[in-house]
């Protein structure tokens, strides 16, 4: 049941991405490029539609004591604004604007056989694996180089979740 429901949610997500225009790199870049003269505001409406539905649903659903299929809600609770957060988001935005893909549309477009996505996805996987290696090294670095940004007690980070 858990697998079937997750599969169904993924399917609905994919339909939303394609209908919204997120699997058309030119459209995504046309939205990000507000200077281009031919600005396409469509993707602001994708976000608006998603926020409207999820914003209301989130408040209703979290009134429950638990989800339907699992023992508890696992919603991120961190509130700290770190250099990593800003650097990561800046890198992501840059890559997003270069290729016109963010992770969801890249996966959906791979299944559709889009050549660009078939090039992008292996890069994305490599980038994620690279981060894993870099992150482990950073955690092993002597404390003197990280003490400024974070006290040693806080080094044991909770699993990062988006």
């Amino acid at each position: 049941m858990r697998l079937l429901t997750a599969f169904a949610a993924g399917l609905v997500f994919a339909v939303g991405l394609v209908l919204g225009g997120m699997t058309q790199p030119g459209k995504v870049i046309g939205f990000l490029d507000v200077s281009g003269g031919a600005w396409d505001p469509s993707l602001a409406l994708v976000m608006g539609g998603a926020l409207a539905v999820y914003g209301i649903a989130f408040r209703l659903i979290t009134k429950r004591t638990a989800p339907v299929l699992t023992p508890r809600f696992l919603v991120p609770t961190r509130r700290d604004l770190t250099p990593r957060l800003f650097a990561g988001a800046a890198l992501f935005g840059t890559g997003w604007a270069i290729a016109g893909f963010c992770p969801g549309p890249a996966l959906v477009s791979v299944a559709a056989g889009m050549t660009e996505a078939l090039i992008f996805l292996p890069g994305m996987v490599a980038g994620m694996l690279l981060f894993g290696v870099w992150d482990q090294r950073a955690a092993r670095r002597p404390a003197s180089s990280v003490i400024r940004s974070r006290p040693p007690a806080a080094r044991a980070r909770p699993p990062s979740r988006s």
Binding site: T5, F13, G20, V46, G88, A89, V108, G127
Partner: protein, 144 residues
């Protein structure tokens, strides 16, 4: 504004919101694609692999299905070399892990619950995207 698709985009967005709501209702999880997908690449939390794989398979099945009934949904319309696309993939993969999320996790799920981290991340990636896109248009003639 020639390519503006307000109704399709609003409906698409609503479906994304619905999917994220179902993940929360059923699994108590945030529908952050970069987080769900990258979880498949880690050897830790093995018990989490099932639902993550099922969600990603749903995404892939949706892509396959839609490419058959609505191929126009996958038009590219932009000039990018394979090297640029591959490099962008690496940057997106690394950046979404470093910043703990992407458009779905931060942009939709995080902003909906007024997470300060997600608001900051979304503002940052939108700004970086706008600067990069404008740079490619004006400094590189629209191709990369």
């Amino acid at each position: 504004m020639a390519n503006f698709t307000p109704f399709a985009s609003l409906l698409g967005g609503a479906l994304i919101g619905l999917s994220a709501a179902l993940m929360l209702l059923w699994h108590g999880r945030i529908a952050g694609i970069s987080g769900i997908f990258s979880g498949l690449l880690r050897r830790s939390d093995v018990g989490e692999l099932g639902w993550r794989a099922a969600f990603v398979l749903g995404l892939l099945a949706g892509g396959l299905l839609l490419s058959l009934v609505h191929p126009g949904g996958f038009s590219v319309d932009v000039e990018r070399s394979p090297v640029a696309i591959l490099a962008a993939g690496v940057i997106v993969g690394f950046g979404t892990r470093l910043g703990s999320g992407c458009t779905s996790g931060h942009g939709v799920c995080g902003i909906s619950r007024w997470s300060p981290r997600s608001l900051a991340a979304t503002g940052t990636f939108m700004a970086a995207g706008a600067v990069t896109a404008a740079g490619v248009t004006h400094l590189l003639g629209g191709a990369l």
